[in-house]
């Protein structure tokens, strides 16, 4: 009797919708797992024999180097900015997040354009100083180049998370160490790094996931990794089955890394307790030290933001006419529409699942939030493979169904924009979810309970009370998801319908076709929109 009573009570709209949404997120991933174990074809045997090792090696080299370098740069910047005062510190606080606004693939061809034979550096050297340089030293299209690019455009993940942690949670320890007369280096290695371990690892794992997800940089620089391999076997060889195997292997690597992260992070989660926060007071630097700190921050800001932006702006002045073509406005329209639809769906799904999770106890309420994070950990190319196999399977069923109805049979879903939007939702659900969940965390369940005691159902309470109180978080989640989708490359390249281009795919195509100048304007639009969002989030909201 009791379980029946419980079941009847928990089976409301929120639960049912949550279950449906979670299944939708899970199914494409399960689809990969199932097919991963299917009978291998000859091609796969060949890949496994001769190429897989290379893919794994390149991927690991990238992950290790970029992970380590972003750790060094991100944490050192975070420490300098949290603990010391020097010229322009206030600006660097959010200015050093701006490199995130430049998607690495855009950075990749921008730097190639700066450094190659016809680029600004070599032309200046030739024309001004009559110097011709050895091309070898200016070739960035190799492994070190890719590491460089991914590092300078991804380090802000480590920087922001560590900085937020240091500013709020380290005060007592650091001040004690200062009183005890420890030198600054000592504090950094003996206090800062150990206590912010969880935050640093969280930041580095975001970087690693981004590296695994990257397609633009590695394919442009001609480096064979898992993502490029998935593209090649699928589109180059037309072998979806082997692509699934590659995707499955990559998924296993990701899951392995996630487990590793759990172990390294230890029991302590990096949580920002909001009560009784005492902010770390920065120490004013003098003399040489002052300029050293300033130069370090400026240097990073220069190479990771200012130089590529200046170059893009310069190219844009050469190709500004593009701006007036219909085709270009079509791109903007496409980008905005898909991002808008997908981000709206993300917000709705995130609200339903997080509201369900916070108002219920038990297994489902505990596991569902974890599932929503899943997509963000899985590289875009893998999600794409999962979605395509999943939808073609559905389409085939529908195909028969249409025939049976006597209608003209077509492949509806697997060739439509619907698939792309669905993929965006899976991949970026976590972005919206985190924002909305933290909004719910802030207001707690008191208002909902008060509302129910006054005769409103859960659903009515949501619309009349909760939703109004977390408006900001909902909006924030929407914007973050919107921007991530606008920048997205691998999923869009694979899943877009025929002749459908977005700003991101077009910029990438121009660059791949050696029309770097033409890539500038779409790139700049992406960068400017992202930068504005970063400015609003970290500059305006942090002040509140």
């Amino acid at each position: 009797m009791k379980w029946f009573r419980t079941l009847k009570l928990t089976m409301n709209m929120w639960t049912v919708l949550s279950i449906i949404f979670v299944l939708l997120v899970l199914l494409p991933n399960l689809s990969i797992i199932v097919q991963f174990f299917s009978e291998p074809n000859e091609n796969w045997l060949h890949i496994r024999e001769y190429m897989l090792q290379q893919y794994i090696q390149n991927t690991l080299v990238l992950v290790l180097f970029v992970g380590f370098l972003t750790l060094v740069i991100g944490t050192s910047l975070a420490w300098i900015i949290s603990a010391y005062d020097f010229p322009l510190r206030g600006f660097f606080q959010w200015g050093l997040i701006l490199p995130l606004a430049i998607p690495p693939y855009i950075g990749a061809y921008t730097y190639h354009g700066i450094l190659n034979y016809t680029g600004v550096i070599q032309t200046s050297l030739r024309n001004q100083f009559d110097m011709t340089v050895n091309q070898q030293y200016f070739n960035i299209m190799n492994m070190p180049g890719a590491i460089f690019i991914l590092t300078i455009f991804l380090f802000p993940y480590v920087f922001t998370i560590t900085k937020a942690f240091l500013a709020r949670q380290s005060t007592a320890l650091v001040e004690n160490a200062r009183i005890l007369g420890s030198s600054s280096w000592r504090i950094y290695f003996k206090v800062v790094l150990p206590i912010s371990r969880a935050a640093i690892i969280a930041g580095v794992s975001l970087v690693v996931l981004e590296v695994l997800n990257d397609y633009g940089v590695v394919s442009y620089y001609g480096i064979q990794t898992f993502t490029t391999a998935i593209f090649q076997t699928w589109f180059g060889m037309g072998d979806l089955q082997s692509a699934v195997k590659l995707a499955g292997t990559l998924m296993i690597i990701v899951l392995f890394l996630l487990v590793l992260e759990r172990i390294f992070r230890g029991r302590r989660r990096y949580s920002f307790t909001t009560t009784k926060v005492k902010l770390l007071q920065p120490v004013k630097l003098e003399g040489k030290q002052k300029w050293l700190a300033f130069s370090y921050c400026s240097f990073i800001f220069l190479i990771a933001f200012l130089i590529p932006i200046a170059q893009l702006l310069h190219w844009a002045t050469l190709t500004y006419k593009q701006f007036f073509s219909n085709e270009f406005w079509g791109l903007i329209w496409n980008s905005i529409t898909v991002a808008f639809i997908a981000a709206s769906m993300i917000v709705v799904i995130a609200v339903v699942i997080s509201n369900f999770a916070r108002l219920n106890r038990g297994m489902l309420a505990k596991t569902f939030p974890k599932v929503t994070i899943l997509g963000y950990s899985i590289p875009g190319a893998v999600i794409a493979v999962g979605i395509v196999t999943f939808f073609t399977a559905i389409d085939r069923e529908l195909f028969d169904f249409y025939e049976w109805l006597g209608l003209q049979p077509t492949l509806v879903i697997s060739t439509s924009i619907f698939m792309l939007i669905f993929a965006y939702v899976i991949r970026y659900l976590a972005v919206g979810y985190n924002s909305i969940e933290s909004g719910f965390d802030r207001i707690g369940t008191n208002f909902t309970e008060a509302s129910r005691m006054l005769g409103m159902s859960v659903t009515k309470s949501f619309f009349k009370v909760d939703m109004k109180l977390i408006r900001g978080a909902i909006f924030g989640g929407f914007i973050l998801a919107f921007i991530d989708i606008m920048k997205e490359l691998p999923l869009t390249l694979i899943l877009r319908p025929f002749n459908f281009d977005t700003l991101a795919t077009k910029a990438y195509q121009y660059a791949s076709d050696e029309m770097i100048h033409q890539a500038a304007i779409p790139s700049i639009i992406i960068v400017v929109v992202s930068a504005m969002a970063i400015y609003v989030f970290h500059h305006v909201l942090e002040k509140e």
């Binding site: 008191n446 208002f447 129910r452 409103m456 159902s457």
Partner: protein
């Protein structure tokens, strides 16, 4: 008997042992009951069970002639006709005083709504504050709005969770008297939870002493607190003097 609670038991899913064990209580119509116990004894949990915000593992709760919950049925909190004043008041920050009070009257005809709002505001002496937002009110005023909001829909039973814990000592004493006046004026049956013996003594018709989730003693204030000097030993409640600090 107006409220009838029998063999109530409850355990939080992640807790090791039951938070509430075999809790029994009957309350007459119009009576004011105080549940007194130290922190962690399960006072809030009892209120949440009566309100329907938690589902008991065992037991029945009857209010009036209606079964609120038994082992085979459970009425949702919004359908129980039970009002609650929360410890932190939980006034909706995005609504004015008037809208907060109107919130529980959604099914009432328009004219009655207006009348009722005027009535309860008068009762708590806040007629001039209709258009204010909660953050523009003092702690004591906020508490009275919370009371007015809970009273407005004419609940059969009114629950208070530590109604004075956010007020300073002076205000606490004044509001205590006023609260009793208001409750008695409306005739609503009430249960309030506190860890302060003075509160219980000043407000309640009967006191239920709760210890580790079970009833330790029930009786009138003089029976329970009275002149019995062995009381402080038996009851792990803060001594009177300390509770002022």
């Amino acid at each position: 008997m107006f409220v009838h609670i029998r063999e109530l038991a409850f355990k939080y899913p992640n807790a090791k042992e039951s938070t509430i064990k075999d809790f029994n209580l009957t309350i007459d119509q119009g009576e004011i009951i105080s549940i007194l116990g130290e922190s962690g004894s399960g006072k809030s949990t009892i209120l949440r069970l009566i309100a329907g915000l938690e589902m008991p593992t065992n037991g029945n709760i009857m209010v009036g002639d209606h079964c609120m919950c038994s082992n085979s049925s459970f009425i949702q909190p919004e359908k129980r006709g039970v009002g609650m004043v929360f410890q932190d008041y939980a006034l909706f920050p995005h609504m004015t005083v008037e809208d907060n009070i109107k919130f529980g009257l959604q099914k009432w005809p328009r004219k009655d709504k207006k009348e009722r709002i005027g009535e309860v505001l008068e009762l708590v002496n806040l007629e001039d504050y209709r258009k204010r937002y909660p953050f523009e009110l003092s702690g004591g005023q906020q508490q009275r709005v919370a009371l007015a909001r809970a009273l407005a829909p004419k609940p059969k039973l009114l629950l208070f969770d530590e109604p004075f814990s956010n007020l300073d000592a002076d205000l606490q004493i004044r509001i205590r008297e006023e609260l009793r006046r208001i409750i008695k004026a409306t005739g609503v049956t009430s249960i309030f939870v506190t860890h302060d013996q003075d509160d219980s003594q000043a407000l309640a018709d009967r006191i239920v002493v709760l210890r580790k989730g079970a009833v330790a003693q029930i009786g009138t204030p003089s029976e329970v607190l009275g002149t019995d000097c062995s009381f402080d030993e038996r009851l792990p409640v803060k001594p009177r003097i300390l509770s002022r600090v």
